[in-house]
Symmetry: C2
Subunit: 162 residues, 2 copies
DNA sequence: CCTATCTGCTTGCACTTTGCAACTGGTTGC
DNA sequence: GCAACCAGTTGCAAAGTGCAAGCAGATAGG
């Protein structure tokens, strides 16, 4: 990434997240709960290259959007978690999804989750963020799982598709 | 830009807008009301190169985010306007600004406008979008100018700064 | 008229980033 | 001890970015 261009909030956000992969990685960790390198590499529909994934993970950890921990069950496994800073991207990602859903040729099964999040409004986003804090920061759970609801809607849409 | 990767709304939005300059151009047209090539080239704090600006304008017109019209007062002047599709990016840009303001080293004078938009909430965003429709799509005005309010706040912050 | 300036770009070139495929050194389960 | 798995790395070609200079046509002033 280039050196700092200006103190404009939109520009700075773009400097941090404005490339084709950073937010895809965050999306997969956030909505797909993928926490290991191999999961992120193999499972995303977009097929990120391993060198780019490695680079993005490194940058995101440096930018304090992800944290990296070792898995006690396996000496080579790394667990990537969202930081609070990344969890606060939820409203931004929802807006991105909302705009894409309205204006771009999205597929049904990839947008049911977005639809739920849009309909739920800020209250649902907050509940989702609390759940992410439980999952990634170890904060005790507060309410029922939003992620489970999203996953269920996605799987139903997949089943309908055939 | 690469060929289509997946039907995910977030991914498609990223494919359309996920580079370092597209949203900067839209921001300058939207908040700075810059409508000509030279205005966009010279005035932004980030200093976009003219070839990249030309390329982005072309892509954005092709993506139906901008429209290009000739200026009747000057046969070589082109006027760029936001389309409805681009006007609907307002909530996304506000969220980007909000996140940047909270987590990145923004400057005061570049963030007063964002602050107003955040405080105003969805009602103010709607009023702003209506004003953009008046300015860019020729829809008759509905209410008092949000852009004027934002500009005033920015100029006050600049004056305070010295 | 003639010239200086302004218009939206284009060109050439160096540099950086991306994308693909194969590969690495180490770990684990059987 | 061996196959499968782990998080990456390496080499290389292609694409994208950034800078400086330049361009033809249009306009404004004298």
């Amino acid at each position: 990434m280039t050196a700092q261009r200006s103190g404009c909030p939109i520009n700075l956000t773009l400097e941090t997240l404005g490339d084709r992969w950073s937010l895809i990685v965050i999306r997969d960790i956030m909505f797909g709960n993928r926490r290991h390198f191999r999961e992120l590499h193999g499972a995303s529909d977009e097929g990120i290259a391993s060198n780019i994934l490695a680079d993005r993970l490194k940058r995101l950890v440096e930018a304090d959007l992800l944290s990296r921990a070792e898995d006690p069950s396996h000496k080579q496994k790394a667990i990537y978690s969202l930081t609070e800073k990344a969890i606060q991207l939820v409203p931004l990602l929802v807006q991105m999804g909302a705009w894409g859903r309205r204006h771009l040729p999205v597929s049904r099964e990839m947008s049911v989750r977005q639809e739920l999040l849009e309909e739920g409004g800020p209250a649902l986003w907050d509940a989702f963020m609390d759940e992410l804090r439980t999952l990634h920061l170890g904060v005790p759970a507060k309410g029922p799982s939003v992620l489970a609801r999203l996953r269920q809607a996605y799987e139903e849409a997949l089943a309908e598709k055939g």
